[in-house]
Symmetry: C2
Subunit: 138 residues, 2 copies
């Protein structure tokens, strides 16, 4: 199937899944867990810049999607470990492809943004969206 | 480079790019534009379920990232066409891989969600995130 969606249930479901797995935190978590099982705080330190709340939420969504398992060991304090499921492992290849694209082309994207911003500085941010470009043949 | 990011500028930039290109609307727009140049309303009708404001915003971000060009033809009413840049075309392959993953595995993800929700119904949504799982060895 190609990305030629209509308004169907299927396409809504796929859009939802794409939103989830394309999320940067999900990409990073899957990237770490493909190497080894990790504990919550270990993941948090490895990723850096993610809040406890966001990490909890992202892990829970990954667990709910069947991509990650969460195992609690009844120790004091409880030890909680996360690992990829078989389904989660199938995600590695497409996520690596996306990551490699971002890595390879980030310079071009940043240059494009600088050029765009220089050209549009202070332009039409305050207009309603449908008016922002009207008549401005750039 | 592998997804083993730290707190660096580079990784922030890549996270930002991943968030953008993994967005479901961006995936759909790139999917349509790889087949042909399209006008705003044509895209809107093809995608379905996207608001004018969100389509405007997503197209502008794609333009700013150097992935899409926007051409205004000074007619009455003005004709505005969008097409992929060369950089945008390089995105097709990784986005197709992600789309195909979602297509192929959506059934499994949906089953996992149903199972998860059945198991956790009404459980611990009201607790602060750091308490939600405490001690619950499932």
């Amino acid at each position: 199937m190609k990305p030629i969606p209509g308004r169907s249930e299927t396409c809504n479901a796929m859009g939802d899944i794409l939103n989830r797995i394309g999320d940067k935190w999900s990409v990073m978590i899957v990237g770490y867990l493909k190497r080894k099982t990790m504990r919550f705080n270990e993941l948090r330190q490895a990723i850096g810049g993610i809040s406890q709340r966001m990490l909890t939420l992202t892990l829970r969504n990954l667990e709910r999607d069947g991509l990650v398992t969460r195992t609690v060991f009844p120790e004091i304090p409880p030890r909680v470990e996360y690992q990829l499921t078989d389904l989660g492992r199938t995600l590695q290849e497409p996520l690596d492809a996306l990551w490699n694209w971002a890595d390879q082309h980030q310079g071009e994207v940043q240059r494009a943004r600088r050029d765009y911003d220089a050209l549009h500085e202070g332009a039409d941010e305050q207009l309603p969206p449908e008016r922002r470009y009207a008549g401005a043949a750039r």
